[in-house]
């Protein structure tokens, strides 16, 4: 579903992503971890077509983002860490807009809206203007909108920010079910327990380089320790920090 081939992304003289090669199949939950400024958000923005790679290609579902971006984006949904809602629309109107944007039929749109409103318990506020929503209400509405058209790929940046424990539990169940039904989930997070609990594979990125990828056991072997994901993550990122590649040089 997701293919990064030799992807490098530079901001002026700084390299945010270095020669990234990544292949994520259908139905996998993939967690992308890394310290602040490691290149996670840049990679996500390239997957959505918001940024173009300086070199290399990014493909979603076989569609190159630069040449067939519309088709690639039709397959996916993106939930950023600071989600956007139209302040002067109600939650229901926003969902209708999303249904229209993804070309859903009226009947299909209404049916799915009823389902996601119920799934995320939006009934109490879905007819209010979104400008009155709390952060948690906004986050739940955005997730409902993201799942409305039943995407084959869901990209989520920091999924649990602003959610209460009950909503986090609900979200984890929803993500598991999505993956079970064949959708690919790409999670970028600092929450290591979420990654450990949900992800089939974990990728760790540091200074734009993918320094480790695989299941938790694979990563433990790489780090030569038998601890939690937190221990593995800290070990690998500390080692990578001690061996930084020079600026602008692709390893």
């Amino acid at each position: 579903m997701i293919e990064f081939q030799n992807v490098t992304k530079r901001y002026g003289t700084k390299t945010a992503v270095r020669d990234l090669n990544l292949s994520i199949p259908d139905g996998e939950v993939f967690a992308f971890l890394g310290p602040n400024g490691a290149g996670k958000t840049t990679s996500i923005k390239m997957m959505c077509g918001l940024l173009f790679p300086t070199s290399g290609t990014v493909s979603i579902g076989g569609f190159n983002l630069q040449t067939h971006g519309e088709h690639a984006r039709q397959l996916m949904s993106y939930v950023p860490d600071q989600p956007f809602l139209y302040e002067k629309l109600t939650g229901r109107e926003f969902l209708e807009f999303i249904a229209d944007l993804y070309g859903m039929s009226r009947e299909d749109g209404q049916r799915r809206m009823t389902e996601v409103i119920e799934l995320f318990s939006l009934q109490d506020f879905v007819n209010d203007l979104t400008e009155r929503y709390s952060h948690g209400m906004r986050q739940r509405t955005v997730f409902a909108a993201a799942l409305l058209h039943q995407p084959r790929l869901l990209i989520v940046d920091e999924p649990t920010v602003g959610l209460d424990p009950k909503s986090i539990r609900l979200l984890k169940d929803v993500l598991r079910n999505l993956a079970k039904n064949g959708a690919t989930i790409f999670l970028s997070t600092h929450s290591l327990d979420i990654a450990q609990e949900l992800a089939d594979r974990i990728g760790i990125v540091e200074h734009g380089r993918l320094i480790g990828m695989g299941t938790l056991d694979t990563l433990r072997k790489m780090a030569s320790i038998d601890g939690s994901l937190e221990d593995v993550f800290l070990k690998l990122t500390e080692e990578a920090a001690l061996d930084p590649k020079p600026e602008g040089v692709v390893p």
Partner: protein, 562 residues
């Protein structure tokens, strides 16, 4: 692929409908203010235009060439304004908004997103046509008894014309972002300042030609020639002017022909803009986002030291807060750009006025111009404080706990904001006032009087902006322009404008009017006590405008919980 154009129309209609419902329900004062101020300007423009056309009619002056020239100049000016306003609005909405980041991650096509934003920007930026252009054209039709079809054709002509400058602005915006991603702001400021300077020079030459041309046929022709840049077969303002005037004169065939030229060119340019958007919008977005380094190094500037030094009389903690506000201001190029453009326009106006003074115009006119100039400076202060200082307290919003936990009395925070507002506005308006007064060659007494007026304005307007914002903070909003347009911002603007009128009328009005009258009738007409009384009244107004809102603001501010 779905029909995104229809989806965006539906979205816009819903947004407008919900905003309208809210406006009628919650913000009636704001709605009334907007409508009332538009109607007042509309009536004033109509009355002026009607009077002018009536003069041509009653004096039996052949209106042909003169009206042609007026319409050409008006359409050229409004068209130029539309190029920049549409371009700037598109830049903000296409490249700077959270909405576009959201839309670009959906299957919506780039040209559909662009078209949606273009229509919105054109609608908002063409209000000048409604408020300034339409009353002039209606006055023309009524005075010269235009046929009935003049009126509907007028609107169809204007609608078609809007596409031309709007599309040019959009194309400029796309080119700027795609080819100058590193220096786009500097390139835009240079472009605007260059155009303002060219227009200023053209205005100066035109004024000079108009002054001499009254007595000299050749110079009169020179005046007409000054407008030649707006005329010609390739000039859209000329097509529009020709189409509207043909309809007004009963020549329907010529009018429709011109209408076809305006619409076909407008739509062709719009198509070109959408074609470019399809290819360049996403590319430009990427270039802009990755144009520079991820991290830019910021540090203390000498300007921060100057700012801190200028409020040396305050406690160190308060000075630190002031430097924080100043840093936030100077790191926003759009804010600096607006101040530079406003200030540049006042200096350009002063330079043009100097032309009149040097040409030895009657003293009465020179006093009217001087009064006009100090009023413009006051308006600049009002706009500056309303736009940049009023939102400061509301913007503390979610960070208010930082201020709340500081080892400072809250009174100090408010007075700190007041000192920042006063110092900034006095430095800006004071230097502008002195420079423009000296450029115009005014006497030291007038320079002193104007400086005192600026001091009074600075004190009162700063007190109003800080005091009212502390009384009516809007901690939920993070966009300063929306805070300014809210209820509190509208109240601040209205009271500020009222205070400005009171100070100008009482401080400067009696002196300039009496000197102007004296120069006309040759004897002293205004007793000294009237001048002194004006200054006294202005002093009382200044004390009240400073003290009352600051006191009310402080009472509310100290009770805010965080």
């Amino acid at each position: 692929m779905s029909n995104h154009a229809a989806t965006f129309w539906k979205l816009r209609i819903r947004l407008l409908r919900n905003a309208r419902t809210q406006l009628f329900g919650n913000s009636r004062v704001r709605l009334f203010t907007m409508i009332a101020s538009s109607v007042v300007v509309w009536i004033a423009v109509y009355a002026a235009a009607h009077g002018g056309f009536q003069l041509l009619n009653t004096q039996n002056i052949p209106p042909g060439a003169i009206v042609d020239l007026i319409f050409n100049a008006m359409f050229f000016t409004l068209g130029t304004m539309l190029v920049f306003s549409t371009g700037l609005m598109l830049y903000a909405s296409l490249f700077n908004g959270a909405e576009t980041r959201f839309l670009l991650a959906t299957p919506a096509r780039e040209d559909h997103i662009f078209a949606s934003k273009f229509q919105g920007a054109s609608l908002f930026s063409s209000w000048a046509f409604l408020v300034l252009g339409v009353p002039v054209l209606l006055a023309y039709g009524i005075v010269f008894a235009a046929p009935w079809y003049f009126y509907p054709l007028l609107f169809v002509h204007l609608l078609g014309f809007v596409f031309i400058p709007g599309s040019v602005g959009a194309i400029l915006c796309l080119i700027l972002v795609n080819f100058f991603p590193h220096r786009r702001k500097q390139a835009l400021i240079v472009l605007i300042l260059g155009l303002a300077a060219a227009l200023g020079y053209w205005g100066y030459k035109t004024v000079m030609a108009a002054r001499v041309g009254a007595n000299n046929r050749e110079e009169l022709q020179g005046l007409f020639d000054m407008f030649s840049i707006t005329k010609g077969i390739a000039s859209p303002s000329d097509w529009l002017s020709h189409g509207v005037l043909s309809a007004g004169r009963g020549n329907l065939r010529d009018s429709v022909q011109a209408l076809a030229v305006v619409w076909s060119n407008g739509l062709a340019l719009y198509l070109l803009a959408t074609f470019l958007a399809k290819r360049m919008y996403r590319r430009g977005f990427n270039r802009m986002a990755t144009g520079g380094d991820i991290r830019r190094t910021y540090g203390r500037s000498r300007l921060d030291t100057v700012m801190e030094w200028s409020v040396f009389y305050l406690k160190r903690e308060t000075r630190i807060l002031i430097v924080k506000d100043f840093r936030t201001f100077r790191r926003e190029p759009a804010q600096i750009g607006q101040v530079v453009i406003f200030g540049g326009l006042v200096v350009l106006a002063a330079l043009n006025m100097r032309g009149f003074f040097e040409a030895g115009i009657p003293e009465a006119y020179s006093h009217a111009l001087s009064l006009l100039k100090i009023s413009a400076t006051g308006l600049l202060m009002c706009a500056f404080l309303g736009r940049f200082v009023y939102p400061l307290i509301s913007l503390e919003g979610r960070k208010f706990w930082i201020l709340g936990l500081l080892p400072l009395r809250r009174e100090q925070i408010l007075w700190g904001k007041f000192a920042y507002a006063l110092t900034g506005s006095l430095l800006l308006a004071g230097s502008l006032g002195v420079i423009s007064d000296l450029v115009m060659g005014l006497s030291p007494f007038v320079v002193g009087l104007h400086l005192l007026t600026i001091l009074y304005l600075g004190l009162g307007l700063s007190g109003l902006s800080v005091g009212i914002s502390a009384c009516l903070p809007n901690f939920r909003e993070t966009d300063p322009s929306k805070i300014v347009l809210g209820f509190g911002g509208t109240v601040n603007m209205l009271i500020g404008l009222g205070y400005l009128v009171i100070v100008i009328v009482t401080m400067c009005g009696p002196y300039h009017l009496s000197r102007a009258t004296e120069s006309l009738v040759g004897q002293q007409t205004t007793p000294w006590w009237l001048l002194a009384g004006g200054v006294f009244l202005a002093t009382v107004a200044c004390v009240l405008a400073t003290w009352l809102p600051m006191r009310a603001g402080y009472r509310n501010f100290k009770q805010i919980e965080f």
